[in-house]
């Protein structure tokens, strides 16, 4: 990430950045994100997931902007934490999980950073040191019974400074016909997450794939080797700073640039 972009990303973080930048960035955060409740300046930092910081209005880069909108800065945030009631069975599941986590001494607020309800789906943002315990409760308690893990996906948010790499677990309860999502965020500098293979053996290959593509290291995995790329491959291809590659193709005298160098509209 360039310094300029890092500054922009830092400035628009809710509750962070310099005070001078605060009024504009708050307005930008509210304008540029869907379903995000306004955050107080003195509130503790909530894990809002910053996806991108954009300039201009039309999403075109590289060409001269004569529209007058070139100075516009927009931030893109993922839907933020939801307030109770979450609706449907979501409240029940969160209550049972909170009870179990409080009883075990971990504490719900320590393990679950945020509960996000968006588009009818429940997401629990979990602190990485407690993800195995949360998964264990979700699998074993008779009111939860998320016995089927449908794997681990990764997402790279380079603008989300300090929380760039996200591991996303999708769990399904065959007993109750429910499914939810766990999301664990770690920084690029320290990309370690405890492995959940002890709870869900199915996650074995999925964690290898996420390691292969994103470089998230799952501590305690029985054999964390690359699975799709060759063993000696440098880099992690699904990260945003990893180029797509490709060559220009000539056809009837015209040249088509590779996909990552074509004009794009963000």
């Amino acid at each position: 990430m360039t310094d300029e972009k890092k500054d922009a990303a830092q400035a628009v973080k809710p509750g962070e950045g310099t005070t001078a930048a605060q009024p504009t960035t708050q307005a930008a955060a509210e304008a540029g994100s869907q379903n995000v409740p306004a955050t107080q300046a003195d509130a503790p930092r909530t894990p809002l997931d910053l996806v991108d910081v954009r300039t201009g209005l039309f999403g075109v880069h590289g060409s001269g902007d004569t529209s007058g909108f070139g100075g516009l800065v927009t931030t893109v945030l993922l839907p933020g934490p939801s307030e109770r009631p979450y609706g449907g069975w979501f409240d029940e599941v969160v209550d049972v999980l909170a009870e179990l986590l409080d009883a075990s001494g971990t504490g719900f607020s320590a393990a679950v950073e945020a509960v996000v309800v968006d588009r009818g789906e429940l997401t629990l943002n979990v602190a990485r040191e407690h993800v195995v315990e949360v998964a264990q409760h979700l699998r074993d308690d008779q009111d939860l019974r998320f016995e089927l893990s449908l794997g681990v996906s990764g997402v790279h948010y380079p603008h989300d400074v300090g929380r760039e790499l996200h591991a996303v677990y999708h769990l399904t309860s065959v007993t109750h016909s429910r499914s939810l999502r766990l999301e664990v965020a770690v920084g690029e500098a320290d990309p370690h997450i405890p492995s959940t293979t002890g709870v869900y053996p199915a996650n074995d290959w999925h964690e290898r794939e996420t390691f292969d593509f994103f470089g998230i290291i799952f501590d305690g995995h029985p054999g964390l080797a690359r699975i799709q790329m060759p063993d000696d491959w440098p880099g992690h291809p699904q990260r945003k700073d990893y180029p797509l590659g490709g060559i220009p193709v000539e056809y009837k005298g015209a040249t088509v640039p590779p996909a990552d160098q074509r004009r794009s509209y963000s």
């Binding site: 869907q34 839907p79 588009r119 009818g120 016995e147 996303v168 509209y265």
Partner: protein, 459 residues
């Protein structure tokens, strides 16, 4: 042909006709290796016996015909018994998920259809359902589009199961099972070509609906094809169900019980052959599956035979669903794309004198009468539509299990991240448990009963 080479010592890179040399490092020096490329194994066995080797590691694949594509199996064998089995994948990794991040939401269909190329319509459907969920237009998709999706998916389920049964039989030497299965599949591939224009890699299901309505005569042609498929199915059943050789080869081979399936996240016919009627079409219906009348077949044996039984019965259930969908198509004319012109593909396709393209009426409108329509067409096709930021998870019942799509949008015209939880990727984790302790010949049966398609595994 086989050759036994002395352990390479002086010249570390032995001259072989292969592009890469054998691994030579401190750990492998002094270990004899044998190379077999078809032909007679007895020479290798004799040579191994002469050298007094007891622990033999056999690399089966990635180019072995019975590994369903480029799957590599690493088998440690003791005589004819497999003591350890590991699967090596990644030989067909083409970076489809990464590529999708550089195309518009609509172009993504063209990429994800190429993942599991035996069941392309399921990736398309799952992806489009996920995009629609992100857009919040799930309920706006027209009824007729949903019926066409269900019809296409169920026909695709039949062809996929037929490929599984046919190739599985072929690998046992039963060529007739293969020819009958593929003949039956051919009937439905013609229907795919009639409706979508292509026999595979259709890119037919699009965000908001389907690319075009079914052509005139398609409903009748599909009915006739289904009758023919039933005819071939009866032939297959006559050939297979009471066949003593198949019983001996398939029964109690590749066993995986319910607890093993749940722990390894196995879904689809493998899970149902262990007795659990788990089917996403019933537990989390999509595309209106809750309005169709069908059963979820199960078996209790948890072995390769049970999986064949489940797949055969599922073909009959799919025919049943497809007939209901055909009835609805006859009753219910209507649009096959959402009304929102900011999302819907601007034109229906039509066949012209130079092949398939935009319908002539549409070309006439944008080129001759409406400048705004031309701009709109151009913007939507080249730039695409924007999708509000967020993430969704959508699963569908794929012929091989539960297919999941994890889509993240950054509010732009391209997916920020598209991840496919392919069922055969997950199910291949069972390779070890279904192969170990059996015979080498049973490995072929067990892997065939997992039914992996490596295009989907590696993506």
């Amino acid at each position: 042909m086989s050759t036994a080479r002395p352990a390479p010592q002086a010249a570390p890179r032995a001259q072989t006709p292969h592009s890469t040399g054998h691994i030579v490092d401190d750990e492998t020096t002094g270990i004899p290796s044998f190379e077999a490329s078809g032909g007679d194994w007895s020479e290798i066995a004799e040579e191994a016996a002469r050298l007094g080797e007891e622990r033999i590691v056999v690399n089966m694949g990635p180019q072995h015909p019975s590994t369903h594509g480029v799957l590599r199996l690493m088998l440690e064998i003791d005589g004819e018994t497999v003591t350890e089995a590991r699967a090596g994948i990644g030989y067909l990794h083409t970076g489809i998920e990464k590529n999708m991040e550089f195309r518009t939401w609509t172009q993504g269909v063209t990429f994800c259809t190429r993942m599991d190329y035996v069941a392309p319509l399921f990736q398309e459907a799952a992806y489009c359902l996920a995009v629609e969920k992100l857009l919040g237009i799930t309920d706006d998709v027209p009824e007729r589009a949903n019926v066409i999706r269900v019809l296409m998916m169920e026909l695709n389920r039949i062809t996929s199961h037929l490929v599984c049964i046919a190739t599985g039989g072929n690998e046992l030497g039963a060529t007739t099972i293969m020819t009958v299965g593929f003949t039956a599949r051919e009937e439905l591939l013609r229907i795919f070509e009639l409706i979508s224009g292509l026999r595979m890699n259709h890119a037919y299901i699009r965000p908001g609906g389907v690319a075009q309505d079914v052509p005139a005569g398609a409903v009748e042609a599909t009915r006739e094809a289904l009758t023919n498929v039933e005819h071939y199915l009866r032939q297959l059943e006559d050939l297979m169900l009471a066949n003593p050789i198949l019983h001996l080869r398939l029964k109690d081979v590749g066993y995986l019980g319910l607890s093993g399936c749940m722990a390894l996240g196995i879904t689809g016919p493998m899970l149902r052959s262990a007795g659990l009627p788990y089917d996403v079409r019933k537990t989390a219906p999509y595309c209106g599956y809750e309005t169709y009348d069908f059963d979820v077949p199960t078996a209790q044996s948890g072995d390769s035979w049970g999986r064949v039984e489940v797949r055969l019965e599922e073909i009959y259930q799919s025919i049943k669903i497809a007939r209901q969908a055909l009835d609805r198509l006859e009753r219910n004319p209507g649009p096959v794309m959402v009304e929102d012109k900011k999302i819907a593909w601007p034109a229906q396709l039509a066949i012209g004198s130079d092949g398939m393209g935009n319908s002539l009426a549409h070309i006439k409108e944008i080129m001759g009468t409406s400048m705004e329509a031309l701009i709109h067409h151009f913007k939507l096709v080249t730039e695409g539509f924007r999708v509000p930021a967020g993430q969704v998870w959508q699963t569908v019942e794929h012929p091989r299990g539960e297919l999941g799509v994890h889509l993240v949008s950054d509010g732009g015209t391209r997916p920020y991240r598209a991840h496919f939880r392919d069922p055969s990727f997950n199910n291949l984790q069972a390779t070890s448990i279904v192969c170990e302790g059996g015979q080498v010949a049973d490995v072929v049966v067990a892997v065939a009963s997992i039914d992996p398609v490596l295009g989907g595994v590696d993506r």
